[in-house]
Subunit: 491 residues, 2 copies
Amino acid sequence: MAHNALDEKEISPIAKSPEVSTAASSEGGSKPKATCLQKYFSEESRNFQGSALKKTTRLLSDFIPLGTGRPHAELYPWTSSDANWPSFLNKPNGPEGTVTVPSKYTLANALTYGTALGTPSLVQFLTEHIELIHDPPYQDWAVCLTCGSTSALDIIFRTFTDRGDVILAEKYSYPGFIESAALAGVEIQPVDLDDQGLNPDRLGQILDGWDTLERPKPKVLYTIPSGQNPTGVTQSQERRWAIYEIAERHGLIIIEDDPYYFIQLGPNTASEDRNPEAVSRQLVPSYLSIDKSGRVIRLDSTSKILAPGLRAGWVTASQQVIDKYTAYHDLTTVSVSGLSQFVLHDLFNLQWGQRGFSTWLQTLSLKYTQRRDITVAACHSLLPSDICSFAIPDHGMFLWISIDVRMHPMYAAEGHIVEGWCSQVEDRILTLGLANGVQVTKGSLFFAKNSGEGAELFFRLTFAAAKEQDLAEGVGIFANAVKTEFNCREG
Amino acid sequence: MAHNALDEKEISPIAKSPEVSTAASSEGGSKPKATCLQKYFSEESRNFQGSALKKTTRLLSDFIPLGTGRPHAELYPWTSSDANWPSFLNKPNGPEGTVTVPSKYTLANALTYGTALGTPSLVQFLTEHIELIHDPPYQDWAVCLTCGSTSALDIIFRTFTDRGDVILAEKYSYPGFIESAALAGVEIQPVDLDDQGLNPDRLGQILDGWDTLERPKPKVLYTIPSGQNPTGVTQSQERRWAIYEIAERHGLIIIEDDPYYFIQLGPNTASEDRNPEAVSRQLVPSYLSIDKSGRVIRLDSTSKILAPGLRAGWVTASQQVIDKYTAYHDLTTVSVSGLSQFVLHDLFNLQWGQRGFSTWLQTLSLKYTQRRDITVAACHSLLPSDICSFAIPDHGMFLWISIDVRMHPMYAAEGHIVEGWCSQVEDRILTLGLANGVQVTKGSLFFAKNSGEGAELFFRLTFAAAKEQDLAEGVGIFANAVKTEFNCREG
């Protein structure tokens, strides 16, 4: 496919796996088709095709529509001449040469029933975006708008899991994922992670040694590869290749939940070059970009890079999976809010184009880098270093603070960690922080499976939500809560 | 609760069941609490409480938020001073005296994560609206925004049904409901309906004679009481009381899916008084308005009365059910699009107030009445009356055309109806209509359960979607398709 909208080198020169490049070129440039996924589908979703009625409405435009109960635009309380509507309604099409608007998207379009896939002009923009950034190395991939990644993840569970299934995930993970798994009756098999993210050796050991008589073998791996929630860790390129190879060998679907991919935090040194191009050069290859067999389902979200209130994101996967998304959308959310699509269409197609979107992401990364640096500096100077440790994240918005419970006075007194005690310490630090005006998040909310050891104590801090000038003060209040709990002398 | 926003008599004097009034007054004005619904909940939903992480974020406003990954407003690409944003941002609060704006709802509110219940100012407006129109006769009811009634219905299935359950519904029903039931592995037990809607005698017979050894007894009735989709029939007041009484006796939950409630079509005579007050006087009591034990789940939608692109509606039910909605929202859609809430807040709280909303609904009803009358007149003059019959709907947007297959020349030749033959006739009429420029909807899409008889032939016509001036032409094309199929002489 042609990268026609932009000079690729300028935007996102992604390093490719040599194997992938070879595979693609050995086929004379024609990409393979995705592997058949039918056997992966859940009992519920296997034969599910979506709404028959909605399929009939897709013919609507050329006929007198006496078929579907879709009110005529004259029956809405808003019209495009309404002075209360955004002025961009009547704006000409953005700066010349940046992007072609594939189709008009009017207020009447925004107010009527949307399609399960998304309005064509947005889907086309996002497809171009995916091609520019990830260029999936197989033929039949597609993009579908989602009502945000939480909704997209719910559809993953409904499409791919039956009650009693087991799903693989990082040992510490997004609570929305953990709770969705519980709701779906799916057990999480945690995989260890280290300072480079999910550990492929552990993943391989778990799968090689799986006793299928005891439990069904997992067919899905859920991972947050960049700026992982909650640990902030980003998987290296080598890690991704190693994990993808294991997925190929064991027939795993990979759910690449990647809302922090574009929040790249520059090196933590003031002297480093921080212009947008430098930031762009750091993009690591996504799983989608090395997915030669169509086993990756990539979730992107507007929540961290544009605005969470839009309740919009997009999923990229093989057409077979996208068909399930549109089928589920038909019977659940129907479509993303027309107004959210309307402002995204305005932003992407009329204002920014691909280049403008890329510039926004780079600018945003610089803002987050600054917030990260303020927070890290405060942590270094204010947290008791014998008790608290953390890695400096290079993506995302989270610091994962590990608390060494053996430094607690009660540990010296008892000589071992009493069950339930980490949880009490955690609660007291949280409560003391709140009492003094800071909110942090308990690490135990992120435990994919209660290990039973009870010797782990973490807090997750984010530098996304507070005012920039409050970050250091917030860290200070948290640090004092830790010190108080651990009976440290102030100073 | 006080009806403080409006003079109730002026808006919606709903006739109440004498029993309900007596029950309410015998308790000295204090309403009963809803019955406990725990035993009705599905295996999946029974112990489901929603997102622990999201619960922690509800504290956010008073603290330095280092807890939740909710980007600060300065990290969005839109600001309220952005010239591209709606001008109503800076407008004063609507006409004096109509409504008090309970809280500010700013662009930053619209762009950040919304709450599972809905933004307080909208929830308060809708709660007042429900109280004015329905005044539920029990204490602990509540209102929650939904991402439209299709999404709300999906949550019903997840909350109340397990695979293998049976659910009661009108014999002809909304395809989204029929397909959601199939997806959930739930069997539909169809109930006959006549010119007053769902037949309570048949409902009673089905439940009284239920063999629980053979199949689990239904605990949920799904009904579209006003302007039923597809038949257009509205249940009379007496019907509703009789059906509610059966629900009480057999312990049924009633899903009142009522998107057409406010689309009241005046009498089909030109001389009739059609001012808004006359229309208003016709509102029949909803199930919610007679629900003394909290067993009704009422679904309202913006799709038919404001605009479907908003993907917004509201559910009214006992607090126990609303808690399930917020729990499911946490792990699926999170919230209604902030932009949809933003424009609804503007419309309801800043522009309309309760009175303005009521006026809009009455005006809309007049528009639909006019469209209904044009369509009915065309049907009377153009459809072959020996083949086609229909009732004139007094709510909603649908005409349900019954075709007498015994008038078909093939019936005369064969003397009976051959299996699969109705379906072929249906397809041919649809195809012929499309070929000549009209789209109607096949009746078989609405069969809750394939009866096996194959002797029924219907088409559903709507007068909502076409341009008003195209309605008669559309009916004419459809009529010609029927006549051609039935070999009628033209003229």
